[in-house]
């Protein structure tokens, strides 16, 4: 039998969420970041409304500087850069979100097992995590991506986004794992967990319904920051030609294409990078705001007021 008072639980968690939201709103950077990111995502979703086709070339309009008709200019084939960037944003954001999902799945599983069960399992999992952390990230990313790029299996060719997300995810789950482990270590001996255990709850149930929901706050912060890293890493790989392969546009490979002509046509380099920059800074500000919102002590120390 489950001993809980649902009404009370709901009320208190609603109150807690309310507090978090209130503290988040008071963080100017976070609000700014959230607004900017919302705008950007809306623009990306509305990309099909653009009057231009992202793929069709019109050589007569090649290399036009930014104007009213083409706010971000046109590329070597006369394609509207704003339209290309919006479609590229879909790709970059999708890869970023995939990486976050992969990272959180691996990281939370490894961290939860290590933190909850401890002992030899903890030791083995944490040694693996340490080892993965000592890898030279970009070198291994390039190695994996270059090998996968050569695979003739059609799966990787047709799922370029998923492949790149897997490569990046495989090299970035370690922070989530360490964080989850730390959270589980502190939570597993809490009285409510002991109570659940004494009522005969299985390990699975304790992990999934008692400890995990209470670790969500820090994990959400971590996932947010991870989105930023993932987008930077994807664009870096694509910039070097090992990431998303043209003709699929991504912010990284648009910037990479610009390399050959950007000294003559600077807008080809300025705008793709600007979008990457805006995305990362928004995401970082949101992560920062969430961290403060979930950690009242830090806010207390910074604002110097008592709740």
């Amino acid at each position: 039998m489950q001993l809980s008072i649902p009404e009370f639980d709901t009320i208190s968690s609603l109150a807690a969420q309310n507090n978090i939201w209130r503290r988040f709103r008071r963080h100017p950077g976070a609000v700014f970041g959230a607004l900017l990111l919302t705008l950007l995502i809306a623009a990306i979703l509305l990309a099909p409304l653009s009057p231009y086709n992202p793929e069709a070339s019109s050589p007569a309009e090649a290399y036009q500087a930014p104007s009213l008709a083409h706010p971000m200019g046109t590329d070597a084939l006369g394609r509207d850069q704003l339209t290309r960037l919006l479609y590229g944003g879909r790709v970059s954001m999708t890869v970023g979100l995939m990486v976050v999902i992969i990272t959180v799945c691996i990281g939370v599983t490894v961290g939860a097992l290590a933190g909850y069960f401890g002992g030899a399992l903890d030791n083995i999992l944490m040694r693996i995590t340490d080892a993965a952390l000592t890898l030279p990230t970009y070198l291994v990313l390039i190695l994996l991506a270059s090998i996968l790029r050569e695979l003739s299996t059609s799966f990787f060719k047709e799922n370029n986004l998923l492949t790149i997300a897997l490569v990046i995810g495989l090299l970035s789950w370690m922070t989530s794992a360490r964080l989850t482990r730390a959270l589980f270590l502190t939570l597993r001996d809490q009285t409510y967990v002991q109570a659940a255990r004494s009522l005969g709850a299985s390990n699975r149930r304790i992990i999934l319904t008692h400890i995990l929901p209470n670790s969500l706050g820090p994990l959400i912060v971590e996932a947010t920051l991870e989105l930023g890293y993932a987008i930077i890493e994807e664009s870096g790989l694509s910039f070097l030609g090992f990431g998303i392969q043209p003709p699929t546009p991504s912010w990284g490979n648009l910037l990479s294409n610009a390399q050959a002509h950007f000294t003559d046509h600077p807008w080809l380099a300025i705008f793709p990078g600007l979008l990457i920059f805006i995305t990362i800074i928004s995401v970082n500000y949101i992560g920062d705001g969430l961290r403060d919102a979930y950690d009242p002590h830090k806010v207390l120390e910074q604002v110097g007021e008592v709740f």
């Binding site: 890898l135 030279p136 070198l139 664009s235 070097l240 300025i270 990078g273 920059f277 800074i281």
Partner: protein, 344 residues
């Protein structure tokens, strides 16, 4: 076993396992190491077969790994690729410092690396030095004058700096200082944006001019990261009780900050720096690509694009070795610097 020895043993095991993983990854790639050899001309099957025998690629993978590790001078190899073992091998293996020959240039891998490494060390050395020289004062001042105009500006800028992709910053700097701004004397670009030098004879100003843009591109991220890090660790130290004690006993504020606070706040920064040092070996791949700097990053990029596996493997395993070694050293130095930490 003492802590240091145990850590050393773990590190050696880890390097060994990584070498195994890297070797397997590279060799399990489709087509194997020879796939890149047929790029320029079509190879006939019997030709490919001969090459495979000459490179020893016909042997089973575990044997190949063993040869890569310890060499093949203890066994007979097929030097002309006719299918008969005719002479003792000449390779010494990476354990004896022989990383084999580059597929791309047919020169020893170590020669390739040693021709690139000094350029990378120059670039990264100057970059790290500049980064620390800027980040340390900014970090201290930000923490000491928390919430001042300076602090708010510095914190905002470093927040932006961390979100700035290196490859984009480099392009922006090239647009500004190479394309837009002109040298008032010559009418040419204000700053050079490619290579290490223009003049054949050594000229210090020429060399320095070529360093400015790459170093600025590479250093900004480090400045942002280190200054934020130092600010945070200074703030933590400033609120400690021993700071109040130091003030209470009448020490001048300057001494309190620089002797008591800074010394303690620098410990985490030293560790962080020690952990970042080995990344120098791999070079700054984006900076080297953008500014045509002939360093390790570009060498790795070329090796990865053209499937030059001996070079790839060498850079990977040496980098990973350095990373592991430095995280080991960082732990030990940390323990030595901070008497509160005792491992056993």
């Amino acid at each position: 076993m003492p802590y240091a020895l145990r850590r050393l043993a773990q590190a050696i095991v880890l390097v060994f396992l990584l070498s195994l993983a890297f070797f397997a990854l590279v060799n399990l790639a489709p087509g194997g190491p020879l796939a890149g050899q047929g790029h320029s001309r079509q190879m006939r099957p019997e030709q490919a077969e001969r090459l495979r025998r000459q490179f020893g690629l016909d042997r089973p993978l575990p044997t190949q790994y063993l040869i890569w590790l310890v060499g093949n001078d203890w066994m007979q190899v097929d030097t002309d690729g006719d299918g008969r073992l005719d002479a003792p091998g000449a390779r010494l293996g990476i354990l004896r410092g022989d990383f084999g020959f580059s597929f791309r240039t047919r020169t020893p891998v170590l020669d390739e690396i040693s021709s690139r490494l000094p350029n990378t060390l120059l670039l990264m050395g100057v970059t790290m030095l500049v980064a620390l020289l800027l980040a340390i004062p900014v970090g201290i001042l930000s923490a000491v004058r928390q919430y001042s105009l300076f602090d708010i500006t510095a914190t905002t800028l470093s927040f932006a700096g961390q979100a700035l992709p290196e490859f984009w910053l480099g392009m922006l700097l090239i647009i500004l200082f190479y394309v837009t701004l002109k040298n008032p004397l010559t009418g040419g670009p204000l700053l050079p944006a490619g290579g290490m030098y223009d003049q054949e004879t050594f000229s210090l100003t020429d060399r320095l001019a070529h360093l400015i843009l790459p170093v600025a591109t590479g250093a900004l991220g480090w400045v942002a990261w280190y200054s934020r890090f130092l600010r945070a660790s200074m703030l933590e130290v400033i609120h400690q009780d021993y700071m109040r004690t130091a003030r209470a006993k009448g020490l001048p504020e300057v001494l309190v900050i620089y002797k008591h606070a800074l010394r303690n706040a620098l410990i985490p920064l030293v560790t962080m720096f020690a952990l970042d040092l080995p990344t120098i070996f791999g070079g700054a791949i984006f900076v080297e690509m953008l500014f045509s700097w002939p360093g390790m990053g570009r060498l790795y990029y070329q090796a990865a694009s053209q499937r030059d596996y001996p070079v790839l493997l060498a850079i990977l395993i040496i980098s990973a070795g350095f990373m592991i070694l430095s995280s080991l050293l960082a732990d030990l130095v940390y323990a030595a610097l901070d008497p509160r930490i005792r491992y056993d």
